[in-house]
């Protein structure tokens, strides 16, 4: 893994992360605090418009925060976004792959953009294809893939450079049970290898199986944070994460 200096196992640290979009009165993210350690998967749970994607976008240096601090592997991510980018991978909600390139060509290109070359590049691509279960279809154009295969290739593109931190924005949305299972297994293996992850999902069962800690956010604010078991125990009358989620965020529809 590619870490920069000693930071006591803390891979990601954010304090008071705030984002107010131009022309908007209410902040999309309002003072988020979060710490993620090596080998830990932290789930960001929240209804539509809660601020999950904004949080991931800021933490992955795609957006500049209006206020707050971001530290990845001990490096200030707001002041030095270019430096921290080598320390994390991103698996976006969109299938961010070139349709007309094969899976191997996509991974090779993204690997090169991470600065990989030579044997490290070959190994990263080979391992990515294996982890995504796409070795047999490595040379087929991504455009010919099923939704599940594309999701798996999307995951592989984020871990080519073996980052210590991975941001996953609903990585299993719209995939079949088999692909979901393979993705879950792959993420568990990465976690066991020490990779820290920030993970957004709407699937509570998925969160319960995989996630070490949960941060429930709504309207840009963090409502609570802890292990799923601890949170369920803390809020009396909640039988599972679904109950807890609805208790904290309400039952009103969020279509916006």
């Amino acid at each position: 893994m590619n870490n920069e200096g000693d930071h006591n196992g803390t891979v990601l640290e954010v304090h008071g992360l705030t984002k107010v979009y131009p022309g908007s009165a209410a902040p999309a993210l309002d003072g988020l605090d979060l710490t993620v350690h090596r080998g830990e998967i932290v789930g960001l749970l929240g209804p539509n418009g809660a601020g999950k994607t904004t949080a991931i976008s800021i933490m992955s240096t795609l957006l500049r925060p209006t206020a707050g601090r971001l530290s990845i592997c001990g490096v200030d991510g707001v002041a030095h976004p270019e430096r921290v980018r080598r320390h994390f991978g991103v698996v976006p909600q969109e299938l961010a792959l070139f349709d007309r390139l094969s899976a191997a060509e996509n991974l090779t290109y993204f690997g090169r953009m991470y600065g990989l070359r030579g044997a490290a590049l070959k190994e990263g691509v080979r391992e990515g294809l294996r982890l995504a279960g796409l070795t047999e279809r490595a040379d087929a154009p991504v455009g010919s893939f099923s939704g599940g295969m594309k999701r798996r290739a999307n995951l592989a593109a984020g871990i080519l450079h073996r980052p210590p931190l991975l941001f996953l924005d609903e990585p299993t949305v719209g995939v079949d049970a088999q692909s979901r299972h393979l993705i879950m297994e792959s993420l568990a293996r990465l976690r066991d290898a020490g990779v820290a992850m920030v993970y957004t999902t709407h699937y509570m069962e998925e969160a319960r199986r995989l996630i070490s800690r949960v941060a429930i956010i709504d309207r840009g604010k963090r409502l609570d944070c802890g292990s799923p078991a601890a949170l369920i125990a803390k809020h009396a009358g909640c039988a599972d994460l679904d109950d807890l989620f609805l208790r904290l965020t309400g039952k009103q529809l969020r279509d916006g």
Binding site: M1, N2, Y21, P22, G23, A28, T54, S57, S60, T61, L62, L63, E82, R85, R86, F88, V90, P92, Q93, E94, L95, A96, L97, F98, D99, R100, L101, E105, Y109, F110, R112, M113, Y114, G115, L116, R117, G118, A119, A120, G124, P141, A157, H161, R162, P163
Partner: protein, 445 residues
């Protein structure tokens, strides 16, 4: 774990460039659009316009003359018109089946480009007037002589589809023939009248002792021009349809590259590829340069193909070959500047358009308007003054004018340096606009 190269901007640029070319190569319909479309346009439009340009050098316009007069002057007029290099005249005498109405219909149908009807009695009336003029002149009288009140009137029919320049050329040729025939008739009549007077004088002088005789005068009008016109700077290269159209449609094809470029950018944005790349340790400028590099390569290859079409293919189809002038270094710089301007425009289009549909609609329309304004379809000098001023805003116009300067005017790098600077400035402005639009979009999430 992992091996991350440090720096490596050139490495990333190179592989972004290659990736973009690979993507383009796999889009067969896109490649067909980028290469075949301008090549076909050049061939078709050059062949279509070839005769138009040849007309400026001497292709004859077919016409018909209905001679209801049948007199000497009418015959001389038709003979003179037939000798003019721009006209080919079918002469129908008065007893022929073709009358004025039939001639008008034939022109209306497009069988002839023009028709001329010489009215009955024209020769007699003109001759009568000239005789009166000469007699008045010799009698020392002024123009108050009793000339015929009604003058003969020639009727001219023009093909309604003829553009203004051709109509003016036919009318001018007719006036030229009329002037020549009338001048000849005047000289002939004057000569005859003077020789009659000389003969009378010789008779009187012959009756006198030791009398001498005066010689007979010959005043026949000289047809040969006494003053010649010579071009101050003789042209080695004539402005043929090939010289005009090859650079015009090559530029058009280059700027059309903006459409797939913008479409690709929007697609990458919508698929989240742009966002993914922005989270990677690669400078945006590197990614942009890789993309620009690929499309500049396409533009240059495209231009090379069009030049080959102009140089090798078009002559086999009966047109003159494309002449490139002698400033090959300046030509290379101009091609590169034009390619940068075209790709810069594509990047701006991709950044400003919100959807693929917007880019694929706005792009071609903008390119066609810029091409029309820039004089690719109708020369700028033939446009109304307002449009001529607007044409100064078209990058395609700057490029086309610079290519014509090299290909037709025999210009060099110095002669086109202003145009090259304008194209590069346009590229910079387009890229800055794209950057600002991208930044604005990112600020709004």
């Amino acid at each position: 774990m992992g091996c991350l190269g440090s720096g490596g901007g050139v490495y990333r640029f190179l592989f972004t460039w290659l990736r973009e070319l690979r993507l383009l190569a796999r889009d067969r319909s896109g490649v067909l659009l980028l290469f075949a479309m301008p090549a076909v346009l050049v061939v078709v439009i050059t062949l279509v316009q070839d005769n138009v340009f040849k007309d400026q050098g001497g292709t004859r316009l077919q016409g018909v003359v209905v001679d209801q007069d049948g007199g000497t002057l009418a015959g001389e007029l038709v003979a003179h018109m037939a000798r003019l290099p721009r006209l080919a005249v079918a002469h129908h005498p008065a007893d022929d089946a073709l009358d004025a109405a039939a001639a008008r219909d034939a022109v209306q149908r497009g069988d002839y480009r023009f028709g001329v009807v010489l009215p009955e009695g024209m020769s007699a009336m003109v001759q009568q007037r000239i005789t009166q003029e000469v007699e008045a002149l010799l009698a020392g009288e002024t123009a108050e002589a009793p000339f015929p009140a009604v003058l003969p009137e020639i009727t001219l029919f023009l093909d309604p589809t003829l553009t203004g320049g051709y109509g003016a050329a036919i009318t001018g040729a007719l006036h030229q023939s009329l002037a020549a025939v009338q001048a000849a008739a005047r000289m002939r009549t004057l000569e005859q009248a003077l020789n009659q007077r000389i003969a009378q004088l010789n008779d009187r002088m012959g009756e006198m002792p030791g009398g001498q005789s005066l010689p007979v005068l010959q005043l026949a009008a000289e047809e040969d021009a006494l003053i010649a016109v010579a071009e101050a700077a003789p042209r080695d290269i004539l402005p043929t349809a090939v010289q005009q159209n090859v650079p015009a449609w090559a530029l058009f094809g280059m700027f059309f590259v903006a459409v797939p470029l913008a479409g690709g950018m929007i697609r990458e944005r919508q698929l989240g590829i742009t966002a993914r790349l922005m989270t990677m340790p690669v400078a945006r400028l590197t990614l942009l340069c890789g993309k620009l590099g690929a499309y500049v390569t396409v533009c240059v290859l495209q231009f090379g193909l069009i030049l080959m079409v102009g140089h090798w293919l078009l002559p086999r189809l009966g047109t003159p070959a494309l002449a490139l002038g002698n400033a090959h270094g300046a030509l290379a710089l101009l091609v590169l500047s034009s390619a940068l301007a075209a790709t810069g425009f594509g990047v701006m289009l991709g950044a400003l358009s919100r959807t693929h549909e917007q880019a694929t609609t706005l792009g071609p329309i903008t390119v066609v308007i810029a091409a029309a304004l820039g004089g690719l379809m109708v020369p700028v000098f033939a446009m109304p003054p307002v449009m001529q001023r607007l044409s100064l805003l078209s990058p395609l116009g700057w490029g086309h004018d610079a290519f014509l300067t090299l290909f037709v005017r025999g210009g060099d790098l110095y002669a086109i340096s202003g145009r090259i600077a304008a194209l590069l400035l346009f590229t910079a402005v387009a890229l800055i606009a794209a950057l600002l639009a991208t930044r604005q979009r990112r600020q709004h999430g």
